[in-house]
């Protein structure tokens, strides 16, 4: 792609990540949520993949780094589920922002999301899912992009060279 596209794609990817994060954070009271926000964040990375290609991409698409971030999301989800299991008796039980009395009052009041229904752990579940989807969809596009590199060698699933 041209230098102009590359110059625009990278800053725009930050704006798209911002949109995605905002969608994740409002997921419990507005349309959106973890999956949608994660997909919007992934679109920022996908834009850079399309403009720069896989090799010169400003995103670090190494297996180690991506699996680390995706595992972080999965771990957060499991931890929140286990807190519900231990405190409420069932997996992913909504224990609220005061997680079994462990969270200090100041932090609790700070993380208490401003909504009428007190969503409890739902925003944090959205964050965990958003991070997972961000990496998952980016990985999927990397796979598609890498496969299309070899698509010209095949006609009707038969190798021509």
């Amino acid at each position: 792609m041209s230098d102009l596209l590359k110059l625009i794609a990278y800053p725009v990817s930050f704006i798209m990540i911002g949109y995605g994060v905002m969608t994740i954070l409002g997921g419990h009271i507005t349309p959106g949520g973890g999956f949608q926000g994660g997909a919007m964040m992934a679109s920022g990375a996908i834009l850079c993949i399309l403009a720069y290609g896989l090799k010169d991409n400003p995103f670090n698409l190494s297996h180690e780094r991506m699996s680390l971030v995706e595992s972080l999301g999965a771990l957060l989800y499991i931890c929140l589920g286990l807190v519900g299991l231990l405190a409420g008796g069932s997996f992913l039980y909504n224990v609220g922002t005061n997680i079994y009395g462990l969270v200090p009052a100041g932090l609790q009041s700070m993380l208490n999301y401003p909504d009428a229904l007190h969503a409890g752990i739902i925003p944090y579940l959205n964050i965990a899912i958003g991070v997972k989807v961000f990496i998952g969809l980016t990985t999927l596009v990397i796979l598609f992009y890498a496969v299309t590199k070899y698509a010209g060698d095949y006609i009707d699933n038969e190798e021509i060279d």
Binding site: I17, G20, V21, L25, P104, G106, S109
Partner: protein, 104 residues
């Protein structure tokens, strides 16, 4: 020591910082931005180098977009999407702190 001083402050501030924006979502946005910035390269990859003024321009652009968005999704306080701005700033900081250097 830090906890002793910060916790009473946070208790006094509460979820809505001086009536301007909600602190919880803003901090969460900053953390997600940091995570997103962690999977970026610190050094330029393809000859495209963004200097300090470019990053300031990106942040100003983000503030403009946040202003047009309004105080989504909590509809209170400052007419600005603090989560949006915090996410962009978090991604830039995360790229600077946790980003990797490209091996040439």
């Amino acid at each position: 020591m830090v906890l002793e001083t910060t916790v009473p402050f946070l208790q006094s501030v509460g979820p809505n910082l001086f009536g301007l924006f909600y602190t919880g979502p803003t901090i969460c946005a900053l953390i997600i931005g940091l995570i997103a910035g962690a999977i970026m390269h610190k050094t330029p990859t393809d000859g495209i180098k963004l200097n300090t003024s470019s990053w300031i321009a990106i942040i100003i652009g983000a503030i403009l977009v946040a202003f047009w968005l309004g105080s989504f999704p909590y509809y209170g306080g400052l007419n600005l999407g603090p989560g949006f701005v915090a996410a962009v700033i978090g991604a830039i900081i995360g790229r600077g702190i946790l980003g990797t250097k490209v091996k040439v």
